[in-house]
């Protein structure tokens, strides 16, 4: 047992939050926000979405963020991906992130599926050759047939999500961020997704950050869980205990 703990501590840290606080400035309306640019006296309310949060994630680990709506889960994910910035505190992230946040967004609806694959992958920092390499995998995984050549506006929402998921899991990420995304598509596709995420975690040493309401899925992938409420960490520990803690509070 002590060996295991030692092993764990020696593993590389890929995500670390140190006393991170994120405040949103709430103005009465847009006009007040605009005035606030030039005049510091314009009144606003501060809403703390994340309150003095610290945690670490080691390489290859699966961490679940558990909490009700408004607990700050999405804000945390946004800060990990580098979309949003903390008001206070330090964030350290090491590795290529592939985020499955709102799968169907970020696409260009006028372009075809193939063009969107190139667009999205190169925005993730991949070169053309690297994309060519994974293109077939993505197309095969998405499994949307001839639609891959059609503009995205003709896709159903399920097809868009499938393409989005296919890209995210096939670009060889170091850190995979999953936000309710596994609930897309039909049963078969869901199974395929779960299988793929498990493969990624098994051989590539991929780190997983998982946000969900579905506690059973969290149990499958994650070893640890953090329970959040109103931006504060209430509990951090093994996933089983985290789920019990969360259930007890409900």
């Amino acid at each position: 047992m002590s060996n295991e703990i030692n092993d764990y501590n020696e593993r590389e840290t890929v995500i670390s939050f140190k006393n991170v606080t994120k405040e949103y400035k709430l103005y009465k309306n847009d006009k007040a926000r605009f005035k606030g640019l030039f005049n510091k006296k314009v009144p606003f309310k501060l809403k703390k979405a994340v309150n003095n949060l610290s945690f670490e994630v080691k390489k290859g680990e699966g961490l679940a963020l558990i909490g009700r709506n408004g607990a700050g889960k999405s804000t945390i994910l946004k800060m990990v991906t580098g979309v949003a910035f903390p008001t206070k505190g330090e964030i350290f992230v090491d590795g290529k992130i592939s985020a499955l946040l709102e799968l169907s967004s970020g696409f260009d609806v006028e372009s075809s599926g193939i063009e969107n694959i190139y667009l999205k992958c190169s925005l993730l920092g991949m070169t053309r050759e690297e994309i060519d390499e994974v293109l077939d995998d993505i197309v095969e995984f998405a499994d949307i047939g001839d639609y891959i050549e059609q503009p995205l506006r003709s896709y159903s929402s399920g097809m868009k999500s499938r393409l989005g998921f296919a890209i995210c899991v096939n670009v060889k990420p170091d850190i995979l961020i999953v936000d309710e995304a596994l609930s897309v598509g039909d049963k078969n596709f869901k199974k395929k997704c779960i299988k793929r995420v498990r493969e990624l975690m098994a051989d590539n040493n991929v780190t997983l950050l998982f946000v969900t309401h579905s506690l059973s899925t969290a149990l499958e992938f994650c070893q640890r869980g953090i329970v959040l409420e109103q931006g504060k960490k209430l509990f951090e520990g093994p996933i089983q205990e985290a789920i019990e803690f969360y259930d007890a509070r409900e």
Binding site: Y24, K25, D30, K31, R33, F34, L37, K78, T81, G82, V83, A84, F85, I97, A99, L101, E102, S105, G106, D108, E110, S111, E115, Y118, L119, S122, L123, L124, T127
Partner: protein, 268 residues
């Protein structure tokens, strides 16, 4: 200072993607319409025709200028205006238009104005080629003054990229600001010496003030190339005014980026 370094770094690491995004912006603008690319030419042609009709047929003005038919004089000044017309409101809306890049992924926001400008510059190059061809048809072959074209193009590009960064960031915070810019487009057109020569204005103060407007300087610059056959350094006051207004735009752009970069993902 650190903001300048940040902007430069963001451009350096995203070099390749900038051109790809410019291309996809261009395709997005024109695809889907039945005439597609033709719109890039039809719209400016329509504008030119309307003004030519209004001034030559309607107002019975439109006398030849400096030995060139009025139509060619008009064309030389409108050529850069088509670029600027698109980017005055387009610059203010560019970051909102690409808000999925800001709110859904880690993305260097300062390159959005750059690729939007590059995309418009491509259209400009096509129109420029047509303009040169039209001058040729009328018997005016390119001469040494055409060598100034890259300079004026660069001036236009830099000015409007800085403008798009400033106005684009501010528009994210306030939709009112964006609407204000949209409604100012027509005013800028009539007050910028695109359909008249600023140097003909009698009042010296108004004349000088107008030269602080980059739209005026650039439109006049294109006319110097095609019509007046003057060098850019002949009017030193004009260049100085342009330099000052460019510096002001750059400072505003950097201020806006520094002040708002961390705020806009929360607001959009």
């Amino acid at each position: 200072m650190s903001t300048i370094r940040q902007i430069i770094n963001e451009h350096r690491t995203f070099g390749k993607q900038i051109f790809m995004l410019a291309k996809s912006d261009l395709i997005k603008t024109y695809r889907g319409a039945a005439l597609g690319w033709a719109w890039a030419i039809v719209k400016p042609a329509m504008t030119l025709f309307v003004f030519w009709f209004g001034f030559t047929v309607g107002l019975r003005g439109g006398q030849p200028i400096a030995g060139y038919p009025y139509f060619l004089w008009q064309l030389a000044g409108f050529l850069p205006w088509f670029y600027m017309r698109s980017l005055i409101p387009g610059g203010a809306g560019c970051i909102r238009k690409y808000k999925h890049l800001v709110t859904k992924m880690k993305f260097p926001v300062s390159v959005i104005p750059t690729f939007v400008n590059i995309s418009e510059l491509m259209v400009h190059l096509v129109l420029l080629a047509i303009t040169v061809a039209l001058f040729l048809i009328f018997g005016h072959t390119p001469d040494k003054y055409y060598l100034q074209l890259p300079l004026y193009m660069l001036m236009m590009f830099v000015s409007f990229t800085a403008w798009a960064l400033f106005a684009g960031m501010l528009s994210c915070i306030s939709a009112d600001f964006q609407n204000l810019i949209k409604s100012m487009s027509t005013a800028i057109f009539w007050m910028s010496g695109i359909i008249y020569d600023v140097n003909n204005i009698q009042n010296v103060y108004i004349r000088t003030i107008l030269k602080f407007n980059p739209v005026t300087v650039i439109a006049t610059g294109y006319r110097k190339v095609f019509i007046y056959k003057e060098w850019f350094f002949e009017d030193k006051v004009e260049m100085l005014c342009y330099g000052i207004s460019l510096l002001a735009t750059l400072i505003l752009a950097i201020w806006a980026y520094k002040r708002l970069r961390k705020e806009i993902p929360d607001v959009l």
